[in-house]
C-alpha cells in the first residue's frame, strides 16, 4: 500500500536555487528536490554528511502542485571581506540573489511508510530550523496540511487535494469563475516517460565543500482547479 505525505510550502519569500555557486543565485519556479530533502533532513536532525539518510530521503517520490505562482524578485546583497583569488587583500562582492515572492506550493512525498510516519511526527516540531531555500525564508504556516499522511498515491493527491490558497478574496473570485487557470504540477518520473524533463537537483551529498547533485526526471503537467478543491480548501487561519 502506498503512503503519501502532503505538505504546504507557504512563505512570503522562498528560494530554490538550481545553478547557485558564484555571484548569480537563481531560483526555480517550484521547490527543488535537493531543497525539499534538505528541509526534511533538518526536521529529522540528519547530519550533512550522513549520506545514507540523505539517500533514503531523496528516494522518496516528489510531486509538487503550484497553488499560487510566485513572483521572481531580486535581492541586493553584498558580502564583505571576500578574499581575492590571490589570497591578498579583501573585496566586497555584490551578488544577484533571486527569490520567489508570495508563492504557495502543495508538496507531496510518496514512498517508504515508516520514513513518512517519522516525518509526519517531526515536521512541525523539527529538530533544527526548517526554511525554504535560505535561512531567513521561514514557513508562514504549519507545513502539515489537514490531509497529512494518507494512503493515496501522490499522483491522485495532485488532482484532488484541497486548494491551499487561504486568501478569501482570491477564493471567492475563483469560485465565481467558469473558466479557471489550471494548477501546474511537476512529478518525479522515469527518464523514459514521454515528455520527461531532466533536472540536476537530486541530492547526493550535502557535505560542506563537496555538494553533489545527480540527475532526475520530472513530468510537467497541469490539473484543473475544481469546485470541490476550492470549497474544501485549507481555510484554517494562522494561529
Amino acid at each position: 500500500m502506498v503512503t503519501s505525505l502532503a505538505l504546504c510550502f507557504d512563505a512570503p519569500m522562498q528560494s530554490w536555487g538550481t545553478r547557485s555557486p558564484g555571484t548569480l543565485r537563481d531560483t526555480a519556479a517550484e521547490p527543488t528536490k535537493s531543497g525539499v530533502v534538505g528541509l526534511l533532513a533538518a526536521a529529522l536532525g540528519v547530519h550533512r554528511d550522513d549520506h545514507d539518510a540523505i539517500a533514503d530521503l531523496a528516494a522518496l517520490t516528489l510531486a509538487v502542485r503550484v497553488d499560487r505562482e510566485g513572483i521572481p524578485e531580486r535581492d541586493y546583497h553584498t558580502t564583505q571581506n571576500v578574499p581575492t583569488t590571490l589570497g591578498k587583500g579583501h573585496r566586497t562582492v555584490v551578488s544577484e540573489r533571486y527569490y520567489l515572492a508570495d508563492a504557495l506550493f502543495l508538496v507531496i512525498l510518496e514512498g517508504h511508510p515508516e520514513l513518512l510516519q517519522r516525518l509526519n511526527h517531526t515536521i512541525d516540531s523539527p529538530r533544527w530550523p526548517v526554511f525554504f531555500g535560505r535561512r531567513a525564508f521561514v514557513p508562514a504556516r504549519p507545513l502539515l496540511t489537514r490531509t497529512g499522511l494518507t494512503h493515496q498515491p501522490a499522483l491522485r493527491l495532485l488532482h484532488t487535494h484541497p486548494w491551499l490558497e487561504n486568501d478569501p478574496d482570491v477564493r471567492k473570485s475563483e469560485s465565481a469563475k467558469t473558466e479557471r487557470v489550471p494548477l501546474r504540477t511537476i512529478i518525479d518520473c522515469p527518464a523514459t516517460t514521454p515528455g520527461a524533463v531532466p533536472r540536476r537537483d537530486h541530492p547526493i551529498s550535502f557535505t560542506h565543500g563537496d555538494r553533489r547533485h545527480g540527475l532526475r526526471h520530472v513530468l510537467p503537467a497541469t490539473t484543473p482547479l475544481t469546485d470541490p478543491m476550492i470549497s474544501d480548501g485549507d481555510q484554517a487561519p494562522c494561529s
Binding site: A29, R68, I71
Partner: protein
C-alpha cells in the same frame, strides 16, 4: 501609434500564470489585436512592443502598437484600473536630431558565439557584465540613430540593471530570456533611423517584453 498603460493586479491568477510563462503573457497582450492572415506575424503586423515595469505595489504594463488595441478580452481581474490608451504622435513629433532625452529600455542584449562543441554553429548568449551590456547598447545606437552622452563621472550616462530571467514554453520548446534594463540619457543623431527604432523596437525577444524604448524629458543634472 498608440500607447496603453495597464495597472496589473498582481493577485490575479491569470497574471500569475502569464508571469510564470512569458509565452502566455505574449498571448494575453496579443489578445487585444485582431488576427492577421498575412505572412507577417501578428505582433510585427500590428507593431506591438511591450514591457512590464515593476512598481511599489506590483507591475505596470506598457504596450505600444500601430493598431488601436481593444482590451475588452482581458480576464476580469487582470488589472486594478481600466486600460488607459493614448496616441503617441505628440512624442514622435518632438523628436529632432540633437535632442537629449531620458529613456528606459528593457533589452535582450545578446551576442552570437561559436562554441567549439557546436562545430561552427552559433549559440546566442546574453551579456551579463555591465560593460558588455553598455557596449551592446552603444552599438545599437550607431545602428538606430542615437548616442549615449557622457555623464559627469566620464562614464556613459546609462545604468544597466539586472532583471530576473524570464522563461516560458512555446509548443514544446523552452523559451529563456535574460534581459537587462537600461535607464539613462540619449541624444538623437538621425531622425529617420531613430523614429524607425521607436516604432519597431530594438534588439531581440520583442515578443517577450524586450525592445520597447520609452522616452521622457531629460532629467536636470
Amino acid at each position: 501609434m498608440f500607447l496603453t498603460k495597464l495597472s496589473i493586479n498582481v493577485r490575479s491568477r491569470e497574471f500569475r500564470r502569464d508571469f510564470a510563462n512569458i509565452h502566455d503573457l505574449h498571448r494575453t497582450v496579443m489578445s487585444a489585436y485582431p488576427d492577421t492572415d498575412g505572412d507577417i506575424p501578428a505582433r510585427q503586423a500590428h507593431g506591438v512592443l511591450w514591457r512590464l515595469d515593476p512598481t511599489h505595489t506590483g507591475y505596470t504594463a506598457y504596450i505600444q502598437s500601430h493598431t488601436n488595441p481593444a482590451w475588452g478580452k482581458l480576464p476580469g481581474d487582470y488589472t486594478t484600473a481600466p486600460a488607459e490608451v493614448r496616441p503617441l504622435q505628440p512624442v514622435l513629433d518632438t523628436i529632432t536630431a540633437g535632442r537629449k532625452l531620458s529613456f528606459r529600455l528593457l533589452a535582450n542584449a545578446t551576442q552570437d558565439t561559436r562554441p567549439v562543441e557546436l562545430k561552427g554553429k552559433t549559440r546566442r548568449v546574453a551579456h551579463h557584465q555591465p560593460d558588455d551590456q553598455i557596449g551592446w547598447l552603444i552599438r545599437k545606437g550607431d545602428q538606430h540613430g542615437f548616442v549615449i552622452p557622457t555623464a559627469r563621472d566620464g562614464q556613459p550616462d546609462v545604468n544597466p540593471s539586472p532583471v530576473p530571467r524570464m522563461t516560458g514554453r512555446k509548443d514544446d520548446t523552452t523559451v529563456i530570456v535574460d534581459p537587462v534594463r537600461f535607464d539613462g540619457h540619449l541624444i538623437v543623431t538621425d531622425h529617420t533611423a531613430f523614429t524607425q527604432a521607436l516604432t519597431t523596437g530594438i534588439g531581440r525577444a520583442k515578443a517577450y517584453g524586450c525592445g520597447l524604448l520609452s522616452l521622457a524629458p531629460p532629467r536636470n543634472t
